[in-house]
Each structure stands twice: as structure tokens, then as C-alpha cells.
Amino acid sequence: MEQLQITSATPDSALLDLPWRTPLADWPDDVLAALPRGISRHVVRFVRLDGRVLAIKEISESVAFREYELLRQLRKLEIPAVRPIGVVTGRRDDAGEPLEAALVTEHLAFSLPYRAVFSQALRPDTAARLIDALAVLLVRVHLVGFYWGDVSLSNTLFRRDAHQFAAYLVDAETGDLHRELSRGQREYDLDLARTNIIGELMDLAAGELLDEDVDELAIGDALVSRYTELWEALTGVESFGADERWRVAARIDRLNDLGFDVGELSITTDIDGTTVRIQPQVVDAGHHSRRLFRLTGLDVQDNQARRLLNDLDSYVAATDRQEDDSQMVAHDWSQNVFQPTIRAVPRDLRRKLEPAQLFHEILDHRWFISERAGRDVPMPEATASYVENVLRHRPDEKAILGLRPGEQDPELEEGPLEPTGAPEDDHFHLST
């Protein structure tokens, strides 16, 4: 008889303790983690294991292996995506009947499903920021040749990234990696994304989970225009007179500002040398996070990195160390500013937000109370005020777990095609 087999690059024997002989839909509450789920074609459940939260999806074996491999490749290509843990095959129930294979991925800590983000009174620009984040993700996957095939909010997770959001791919089942995408593939993906997003928002509206003022069509259209703008900025050909060479540097600056590094830029001139054409050939997202990582070893998201770098810059100016080795100064900033600030937050409250996000919010808070007080509030004071007045009242975002293990999850009443339905699932608020 075929035996249970776990295929994984990072084997974890604790996986064996999960009730693989039971269909996923019937797993007992005491192993499940109550996270809000997106809309899925398959049975998906979250479990807690060794301090991590894993997402488990039941699908056929070939599809599971395919998606596992694709997710691994996407990670190698540095696309923000969930981390694949493994594939479980050879499952049988107690009667010996075969059960579907399961794909195991690691749930992203501090991530927010779209239903959690949209299903509340949105500040007007929050929707726009989510759509921006998704547009950036879609452009990034397209740049590496990944055709998603089913772009939707349900297949994306969002993480706070300073004032913005960063989007992560969570479902690669319908995707394909190509050497390069055709225009048709990109446009089809984008068109599908628009349709899916509008559909998902209409669904929230039908469930009275969306503010009545939200215009679903406009949000879907915004994705298309943001994507198109960004794609053009990253890949478009620009031509100018030979005496305007500064435009090469300007283009690179603009791309850096969008958060991309230029790995390769093609520059061609016409025969008499009067016109120059430039086109970025290789662009890599994560300009700021790479720079911060190089300087401090801190691995954070791009807009968080931008915020930290700005603070680092003001530290350099305030300590008058522009002439010093930048890595040395960055090290001192980390030791004297960043780390003490995070350490000043009580340990039990730190899990509410990622450290870089905490730091970003404390900077914001400092600006706010400094203005109100009419003086420059020092960091320790700002941190204490932030902890008391803001953080204590924030929900825990390490994993959006409103329930203790074993506690009844209201959404488990529903079938596999049913996502979280009850408004009480949306128990956290956004303060962006």
C-alpha cells in the first residue's frame, strides 16, 4: 500500500503529527488556527505548528507538485510570495480510501487578507494603496516572465509597508513561468485581474461589508492604469537629443524612486548620433530594501526601508558625519537609534507589528506629537507615548488570530467554497 510521503526541501518532522488520515475539511478545531480565509476553489485550512502558521490546501497530486515547484522558483526570482513548505502525498483515510494530496505553505506573518482590509470604513486612499501594491506585484511577476492566470485579491496577501502596502502572491496554481511574456499574456492577466477585483468587491458590497461609496469599477480600472503606467516607466523606450544625456541619469533616478534598481540599460544612438534611445532591460524591485540591507543588515520591505533610510540620513546630518564611512554610521544608527527604540516597546506588544513597521509608526507619532507640543520630542519619549496611546489599542497583526486554538471558528460552519462570511471576523481595524 502506498505510504504517506512528505516532499519538502526543509523537512520538518512535526508535519507528521498533523491528522493526514482525515479529509482537510474535517480537521479538528484543536489543530486549526482561526485565520480569515480568502475565496478558494479548494479546501484550505490554517494550522499552528512550532510557532508558525501553515496554510494547507487539498489539491490533486500533480497540481500540488507543480504549484510547489512554481512557488520555489518564484522565491528564487525574489518575487514576494508565500514560502512553500512541501507536498503531502499517499494520504489514506482510516478505511484505506485515498485522500487528495496537500500543498503546505507558510502563512505570512503580519499579512492581511484583502477582505480584512476592505471590509471596513476605508480611508479614501487605502483602496488606492492596495491597488498600487497589487499593480507593483503584477508588474514584478510579469517582468520575470510569470503568467499568473488568476490574479485576484483572494490570491494576494498584503503587508504593511510604511505608509504603503506590499502585496504577496499566495496562489500560483494557474501560473506558468516563461522566458518572457507576450503582450497577450500580460493583457489577459491584467484583464482577468480587473474582472476578479471588481467581482470580489461586488461580493463584499453584496454582503454589506463594503462602504457604499466605494466604486468597484473605478478600483478595478485604477489597477489597469497603475499597472500600465508602471510597466511603461520600467520598460518603455525613451528617445532624446544627444545633448540631453542627463536624461539617462534622470531615468535611473526615477526608477530608483519607484523602488527599482536598473540592472541593465540599453543605450542606442542613430547613425549620425543626434538621437539617443534608452530602454531599461533588467530592473529589480527592492532598491531601498537592498540599500538598507547592505548598510545595516536589516531585511525589511521597500517602503519601510525608505523610511528607515530617511531617518538614517537625518542621523548622519544631525551627528555631522557626512564624511564618515556610511556603513560605520549606519551601524551606529542601528545601535543608538533603531534597536533601542524597538527594545523600548514592551515585549508582549512587539508582536503586534513588525519591528520596521513599529519604527515607522513611532516616527510618524513623533512628528505628530512634536507638532502638537511645538517642540522636538525625543525618540524615547515619543516611543513611550506611542506605546501607551496607540500600540496598546492596536490588534495583534503577527497572525490575525482573534481566537485561541480550539475555540470555535465561525467560518468553519461553511463549505469549502465559502470564505469568511461573518462580519465579526473583521475584528481589527486599520489606522492607515
Binding site: 492566470g149 522566458r179 507576450s182 497577450g184 467581482g199 461586488m202 461553511e414 467554497l417 465559502e418
Partner: protein, 370 residues
């Protein structure tokens, strides 16, 4: 409704020499259900994606009706990819789940309702239109997903392995549903699968591809009865056809102790390249169990008997022959036998090819001779 024409359509992936699809010529009739089938990497999905506009066409052209769509973007081709996405929205009624794409397209409410009702009637979902997807069974949810594509009233439906992520039972059920639904709707449909059983049971016609080349196109019966080459012969049919290459002696192919006489018309088609050999194929059901020493009988040593109730199959070795004989992926001879008279493992049975049921192919080219 429309015809679909691939006219010398070719796709070469950047950085590769051999085309993924090489000069595909295929005309699909209005309302026809055409299945593209072949092993992985044969070019079937690429062909479908070329029709969908997802793959660039590097040579030739593709027509939907009389319109050349070679350079038309996917959303302007008036096609629908079915099953790419069938997540249902829990808060929306079944009707809204089916019609929301029309709403996005700005169609008037009355027209949306009319098209949804029409589709629901065909899909047997009328009484569920105002309910939520939660109230539906798995099969009904699948039909709602199909309804999404139907209400758009496209010229062509495209389906790329739509059943691959269903379990075996739902797969057979959905297979039948799609086939009968397509006949009721009469919309031209191109369907991709690697599964020849799916192809045989669903398609009006089947196109078999291998290595980017179209091998043969025809009705399921034609593909089964007169495969045009060794590849199609081996690919279509389950269990697979027995195929081997044998010496020709005195105008007959020598199979172990037996000979298969060859007609003059066949002998005349042989060339030097065939090297005095011929490839002979015979399906498991084209063999009769006969007495020892009967005319044309050869011996098969039984390795395994597979009993299926209505049928039984012997998997065995051809005796007293060193010919290279295989059936599908196995190197054994498969014989269909009377399920009520089953030999034991290790027995030797005597079988003969039924008259007129041998398929003959050139040993050199693999093309059909008879």
C-alpha cells in the same frame, strides 16, 4: 458562432530552435467540439494559447470565422476560457455570480437577466438563481462557473485541461456534462487534454499532436480504426495497441511461430529504408485465443491477468521471437480474453490476430501502409 482556422500557424519560443507548434493546419467547423490531445510537450496547450492570443504567432495565421485574429489582443477575440477561475462569490446570488462580468461590461440590467435565465435553463439552475452558492452541491457550483462563460455568448470556448484538478469521480461526471452541454449550446469548442480517454469520449473530432506536429485529425472512430502512423496507433486506445517490428519472409511478417501474410499492395510500398522489416500493430481485442498449432497462432507466456469484470486482459511475453514488441509504456503483449475463462500466471496461451485487424506501418517512417 464561428469556425476556427489554424493556417500554417507556427510558434517558436525565443531561444529555441525547434518550433513548439510547427505549421499547424487545422480547420474547426462551426459548433464542433475539437479535442487537442497528446503527451506533455506536444504543443497542444501552446496551440490553444495561440488561439487565445496568449502566445505570439511567429508564422502563419489564425482565423475565427473569416476574421484574422493573429494580432488581435485576447479580450478582443470574442472567446471565453472556461474554468480558468471558478471561485464563487459567497455573498452574491447565483444569478449575480453568473452575470457579474456582463455588469462590468455595462450591459443593461434586463439583458443581463435575460441571458442569465437562458443559461440557467440550459444548466438546470433556474430554481437556484436567487440563492447563494452555499446552497448548491459541488456539481451545481461547477455549472455556475460554466454559466459565467456561457452568458458572455462567445464565438468559441477554450478549455485547457479543465478537469485536471478534480477527483476521479467528479472528473467522469463533469466530462459527460461538458460534452452534453456543448452539444446543446452548439458553440465551437477547443478542448485540450493529455488523456486519450477524455479525447475519445468528448470530441466530435480529435487532433493528435506530437513534437509540435499534427499527427492526425479525425473522428474518434477514425483515430481508433485507422491510425495514420505508429504514434497515433500507440497513443489512442486503452489498453494500448501492441506494436512490434518484425522481419519479412516470403511476403509475410514473422511473429514468433506465426506469420502475418502481407498483401501485395503493402509489399509494393516497402522501400530499401525499411530494411526488410515491417511494423505490425494489433489491439488487445484483435486477438483470438486459439488451439495450439492453429493457423497464424503464436505463443504468449502469461505474466499477469487483469480482471475487470466485463473484460479481462493478459499481460505476457511473446515467445520464440526476439522482435521488439511493446504496448504503450510496457514491453508486454496485451491480450483481451474471455473473463470467464482466465489462464493462470505462468501459463502459455496461443493467440492469433483476427483477419483484417492488423495495422501495418513502414518500419522506416512509421506511416500507415494498409
Amino acid at each position: 458562432m464561428a469556425t476556427v482556422t489554424f493556417d500554417h500557424a507556427t510558434r517558436v519560443y525565443p531561444g529555441t530552435e525547434r518550433p513548439a507548434v510547427d505549421q499547424l493546419n487545422l480547420h474547426i467547423e462551426d459548433g464542433e467540439f475539437l479535442v487537442l490531445v497528446g503527451p506533455s510537450g506536444c504543443g497542444k496547450s501552446t496551440s490553444l494559447r495561440m488561439l487565445a492570443g496568449l502566445e505570439d504567432v511567429n508564422g502563419g495565421s489564425i482565423l475565427i470565422g473569416d476574421r484574422d485574429v493573429t494580432d488581435v489582443q485576447p479580450k478582443d477575440r470574442d472567446i471565453a476560457m472556461v474554468f480558468q477561475n471558478y471561485a464563487l462569490y459567497p455573498h452574491m446570488s447565483v444569478a449575480d455570480n453568473m452575470g457579474f462580468a456582463l455588469k462590468i461590461a455595462g450591459k443593461p440590467k434586463a439583458e443581463i437577466r435575460e441571458r442569465v435565465e437562458e443559461a440557467a435553463k440550459i444548466l438546470d439552475l433556474t430554481e437556484y438563481l436567487d440563492r447563494k452558492p452555499k446552497a448548491l452541491s459541488g456539481g451545481q457550483r461547477q455549472r455556475v462557473a460554466m454559466g459565467r462563460a456561457i452568458v458572455r455568448q462567445p464565438q468559441v470556448f477554450l478549455m485547457d485541461e479543465p478537469l485536471s484538478n478534480l477527483d476521479a469521480k467528479l472528473r467522469v461526471q463533469t466530462r459527460t456534462q461538458i460534452a452534453s452541454l456543448q452539444r446543446r449550446l452548439g458553440v465551437t469548442t477547443v478542448y485540450v487534454t493529455h488523456d486519450q480517454t477524455e479525447a475519445l469520449t468528448m470530441g466530435d473530432r480529435i487532433a493528435v499532436l506530437s513534437g509540435g506536429l499534427l499527427q492526425q485529425v479525425g473522428t474518434p472512430r477514425e483515430m481508433y480504426d485507422t491510425p495514420q502512423n505508429v504514434f497515433v496507433a500507440g497513443f489512442i486506445g486503452s489498453p494500448a495497441m501492441n506494436i512490434g517490428t518484425f522481419e519479412i519472409k516470403d511476403g509475410a511478417a514473422v511473429l514468433g511461430a506465426a506469420t502475418v501474410p502481407l498483401e501485395r499492395s503493402v509489399i509494393e510500398q516497402l522501400t530499401d529504408a525499411d530494411g526488410g522489416k515491417i511494423t505490425v500493430g494489433f489491439r488487445p481485442e484483435a486477438l483470438d485465443v486459439v488451439g495450439q498449432g492453429s493457423q497464424g497462432a503464436f505463443d504468449v507466456k502469461v505474466n499477469l491477468v487483469e480482471e475487470l469484470g466485463s473484460d479481462a486482459f493478459v499481460y505476457g511475453d511473446l515467445q520464440s521471437s526476439n522482435a521488439d514488441l511493446s504496448s504503450g509504456s510496457s514491453d508486454q503483449v496485451i491480450v483481451r480474453i474471455d473473463p470467464r475463462d482466465v489462464p493462470m500466471k505462468g501459463d502459455t496461451i496461443h493467440v492469433a490476430i483476427k483477419p483484417g485487424q492488423a495495422h501495418l506501418f513502414s518500419a522506416a517512417t512509421g506511416n500507415r501502409l494498409s
